[in-house]
């Protein structure tokens, strides 16, 4: 096998050395802390082995916030490096690794898990179910994501980080031009995480189709549930393409095949096509749930039903269909000819139509409403103008001929940050402030939340607005430096300053979490926002069985009308029945470890070790096949006690929403 021990750890770069030491110390610190506080059993029982959708959701969100930090640090490093012309903070190779990590982490290990986390917490509650359809599979999804994310994150200290961009275009990403193993990390760790995502997609489709409570027809589903359903359909339709693309990349890099190589008849354009056949739907996989969250929040804080519910549903379906038909707009410049480019220009611009419909529906939801400026609502409000800028520049980029001048410039970079940050990041922040009390039983501080909001939104605009101008002036993406003669310096500096404000906003957010955990009032209502959907009909934090009695739905915004008509809010003792719940399982976590080990060996091209450790995965599958544990029942007394405790509280709680 010939293991080259001296090459395994990356050496010779002070920043990386610092990170290695920091990682080592943090790991030791965590292990030491857990041992000192005797929290290992707690961690194993309550979290690692859990199959409860709410806890899995929380784990997703925690991981996503950590990844946000990592991806954000990468972003700041890039901004520092380009703050002045000819800076030498990072060298070219390091910069390449940093922007690759930034892209991959932000899209796949931050945006997706953040959204999937919120989906996990909220969706079963919104449809009045006690869990997802396949709770253990759900845990496996999380742990596979976690395994992939951790593998990807160690790349820069062990073995070398991927350096071909998040798009990993061939031939650059192939062995012919990147013989180091860095890009193996990309192929393998995204594959593992992607498997988890695919399972999530299947899980949520079945959950939403099969587990809706009595009376909740499809057209009575909350908008977040609708968007989650459509997102899951896109996941199932698009992720297998990525699975194949990554598998072929793995074959090319590890076994010398010729799918995307220059030599022996491979086609680099095939990679670009496959990547974007997945990659463009992927953009909508992250944007649609965000649209759903904005719909919920705008409706709640305007105290009005969502305007044009039906056209909202039609538009998300239309966006989903169109998302599959636009991938070529990522490479108009490949020379496919005017006909192909015209076709894809038109399909791409057509996406603006359903998106515009949604935009106006949101505006008209607020019209005649009573808009309460909570932090969650502020994020949703800021989304509208910022996303419109992302949207109109998107239409400009969609025009094939014009794209010849924007392609690969900072204009494009500014555009997709204007879509993804207001569209996804604002949404997950809004969702987090909104659903936080449901998850933990206390609220995030609203005052700090507003600081977080203003710093972040202003910082965001200062960072990315200059990039539009830079791009139109000829500045390209992914360049680690620029010359003083280019005249780019002032705007680059402005952008770097913006990123510091942005980071300050994120720091306030972290402080807010810390402050709220320590000091926030625990005595709050289980429905602090006077909300409209079923998740608010439960305790805060939610009882682990969700609903003592499954609610019955008679209309859209079911909980709103339950409160209005005072129906189904109380629980009589005789209505309580035993509840069947799935048992915890350590298997998903062990599979995460097994996949991590196999993945690591494959990345280092130690095929024999990988084959041997693959036995672990097979053993896990066999164990699962013979596992007949079908859960346990919660006794009536326990339910009575739990329900009594939170239902009595109502009326004696403090209100923190003003």
């Amino acid at each position: 096998m010939g293991i080259k021990w001296d090459e395994i750890l990356i050496t010779g770069d002070p920043i990386i050395l610092g990170s290695q030491i920091a990682i080592l110390l943090t790991t030791l610190g965590i292990i030491g802390g857990l041992t000192y506080l005797k929290k290992w059993t707690w961690l194993w029982r309550e979290w690692i082995t859990t199959v409860d959708h709410k806890r899995i959701g929380i784990m997703y969100i925690v991981a996503a916030v950590l990844m946000f930090f990592r991806g954000g640090m990468d972003g700041l490093m890039m901004k520092a490096q380009t703050s002045r012309p000819e800076m030498s903070f990072l060298d070219a190779q390091h910069y390449n690794e940093v922007f690759t990590a930034h892209g991959v982490i932000m899209i796949l290990f931050m945006a997706m898990p953040f959204l999937i986390g919120l989906m996990n917490v909220v969706i079963p509650l919104q449809i009045g179910a006690r869990d997802v359809a396949f709770p253990q599979l759900n845990a496996l999804s999380f742990w596979l994501f976690f395994s992939g994310a951790m593998l990807f994150n160690i790349a820069f200290v062990v073995g070398g980080a991927p350096d071909a961009g998040w798009t990993s275009y061939f031939p650059l990403a192939g062995k012919e031009f990147s013989p180091g193993i860095g890009n193996n990390y990309y192929a393998i760790s995204l594959q593992i995480a992607g498997l988890g995502t695919l399972m999530t997609g299947i899980n949520f489709i079945v959950t939403i189709l099969k587990m809706r409570t009595k009376g909740m027809t499809l057209m009575r589903m909350p908008m977040f549930t609708w968007t989650t359903l459509i997102t899951s359909v896109i996941i199932v339709a698009a992720f297998p393409i990525f699975t194949v693309a990554l598998a072929l990349m793995t074959f090319d890099r590890l076994y010398g095949t010729h799918f995307f190589t220059v030599a022996a008849g491979g086609s680099d354009m095939l990679w670009a096509n496959l990547f974007w056949l997945w990659g463009h739907p992927e953009v909508y996989i992250v944007i649609l749930p965000a649209f759903g969250m904005f719909s919920e929040i705008i409706s709640t804080f305007s105290r009005k039903q969502l305007y044009g519910y039906k056209s909202m549903v039609v538009s998300i379906v239309a966006i989903a269909v169109l998302s599959m038909l636009v991938w070529v707009h990522h490479f108009y410049t490949m020379g496919s000819g005017a006909l192909v480019n015209s076709f894809f220009s038109i399909t791409t611009m057509m996406i603006a139509v359903p998106t515009g419909v949604k935009m106006f529906n949101w505006l008209f939801t607020m019209r005649k409403g009573r808009i309460k400026m909570t932090t969650a609502m502020l994020w949703s409000l800021a989304f509208v103008p910022n996303f419109v800028i992302g949207g109109v520049t998107g239409v400009m980029l969609a025009m094939g001929a014009a794209d010849y001048q924007y392609h690969n410039t900072l204009f494009l970079v500014a555009h997709f940050h204007y879509v993804l940050i207001p569209g996804v990041v604002f949404a997950v922040f809004a969702g987090l402030y909104y659903w936080w009390p449901k998850m933990f039983g206390f609220m995030l501080n609203e005052k700090l939340g507003k600081w977080h909001f203003w710093l972040f939104v202003i910082g965001f605009n200062v960072t990315f607005m200059p990039m539009f101008f830079l791009g139109l002036n000829g500045a390209v993406r992914r360049a680690y430096t620029f010359s003083a003669e280019s005249g780019f310096a002032p705007l680059f500096l402005l952008s770097a300053i913006g990123s510091v404000i942005l980071a300050a906003g994120f720091a306030v957010f972290c402080y807010n979490i810390y402050w709220s955990i320590r000091y926030a009032d625990r005595n709050i209502s289980s429905d602090p926002w006077d909300a409209r959907t079923l998740e608010w009909a439960t305790a805060s934090p939610v009882q682990h069985y969700n609903f003592a009695k499954l609610p019955e739905v008679k209309s859209l915004d079911a909980f709103w009308y339950m409160k209005k008509d005072n129906e189904g809010l109380t629980l009589k003792d005789e209505e309580i029945e035993e509840i069947h719940m799935p048992s915890n399982s350590g298997l998903p976590f062990l599979m995460c470890v097994a996949f991590g080990i196999v993945g690591f060996f494959l990345i280092f091209e130690w095929h024999l070790l990988a084959a041997i450790s693959a036995v672990l995965i097979i053993a896990g599958l066999i164990y699962r096949s013979f596992d007949y544990n079908d859960g346990y029942h919660i006794h009536k007394d326990e339910i009575k006690k739990t329900e009594g405790a939170w239902r009595k509280m109502e009326g004696k709680v403090n209100n923190h929403v003003s």
């Binding site: 990356i10 013989p179 680099d268 009005k304 409403g369 309460k372 109109v392 001929a401 280092f604």
Partner: protein, 320 residues
């Protein structure tokens, strides 16, 4: 209200794009190709500005008017499900805008495939562009000269750039003269550009291709016909000859300054041809980190025993 201020400042910012546009290279076209694209961009900017103004205005008005105030705490919003008429309106208007943008987009797309209008009479000059890591190689097959990292062209003459790459994928862009196009190994893409006036224009690669990407720039020097012809003549007479050996050396992943030769590499290899050989060597791309196995094309064709091959390449490529 802070929100309104925010939206106002955004409107200002967007109009800034429009106003300060006059100084940016995309808005200062130096040739008919770039000009036609700029006209398209301006057309789209006008419509997009309209969208921004309408949506921002509506947004500001609604948020301001219906915000919660101490006086309206008792106000309970009406139940409202939507309005078919309004929804049809805001579906139809975007469709009309999209149509308004589609027509010029499609015509421009077709126009850009050909010699720019008004220049059909002049015989285009053909220049083969070969991108390599990390330099641009320009071959003038008719003139029989080759330049590296700069290209001279006569003004007011259509130039047909035939793009290909010796390895990784690049994108050829001279923003002052026109849009970009990819250059790919074993492929040939074509791009017409014309420079209206003599002048020096920045050109560069926009498609990331590794460590040397940021500096992968070239200069386009548009000259009068006399200057151009004199330059060609001078190069033919004074520039050194490019040998195959020297050429292979050039293709290694390096930065070179400007170089000039009195013959072209097309004599022995055209990377655009489907059966051209890949002449780069993966060994030249070794950098830090753990090194993986390299698959040597030639050896594998001769051998059927893959396992043996693997052993040969195993452990001996360590180091940077």
């Amino acid at each position: 209200m802070k929100l309104k201020m925010l939206s106002l400042s955004l409107v200002t910012a967007v109009s800034l794009i429009f106003l300060s546009g006059c100084e940016m290279v995309v808005f200062q076209p130096q040739g008919p190709v770039a000009r036609s694209i700029m006209e398209l961009i301006n057309w789209s900017l006008m419509w997009m500005l309209l969208v921004v103004v309408v949506v921002f205005g509506l947004f500001g008005y609604i948020v301001w008017k219906y915000r919660e105030k101490p006086e309206n705490m008792g106000y309970e919003p009406p139940e409202e499900h939507g309005s078919t008429v309004l929804e049809i309106v805001w579906t139809a208007i975007p469709i009309l805008i999209v149509i308004a943008l589609t027509i010029p987009t499609v015509t421009t797309l077709y126009d850009l495939e050909d010699v720019p209008a008004g220049y059909e009479e002049k015989e285009p000059i053909v220049i083969h562009v070969t991108s390599a890591d990390w330099k641009w190689i320009f071959s003038y097959p008719e003139e029989g000269i080759e330049t590296i990292n700069y290209v001279n062209i006569p003004e007011d003459t259509p130039v047909l750039f035939k793009l290909t790459s010796a390895g990784t994928m690049q994108s050829f862009w001279v923003p002052a003269l026109g849009g970009q196009k990819y250059s790919m190994n074993k492929m040939e893409t074509e791009l017409y550009l014309v420079a209206d006036n003599p002048g020096s224009y920045m050109g560069r690669n926009t498609n990331f291709n590794g460590r040397g990407y940021a500096q992968m720039e070239f200069e386009v020097l548009a000259q009068t016909d006399e200057e151009y012809n004199a330059w060609v003549k001078e190069v033919k007479e004074t520039a050194p000859e490019l040998t195959e050996e020297k050429y292979m050396e050039l293709l290694k992943p390096t930065h070179l300054g400007r170089l000039t030769y009195s013959n072209t590499h097309l004599a022995w290899i055209n990377h655009a041809e489907h059966d051209s050989e890949l002449v780069t060597d993966p060994e030249d791309y070794r950098y830090h980190g753990y090194q993986g196995k390299i698959f040597d094309q030639e050896e594998e064709k001769d051998t059927t025993d893959v396992e043996n091959n693997e052993e040969d390449h195993g452990g001996d490529h360590s180091g940077h």
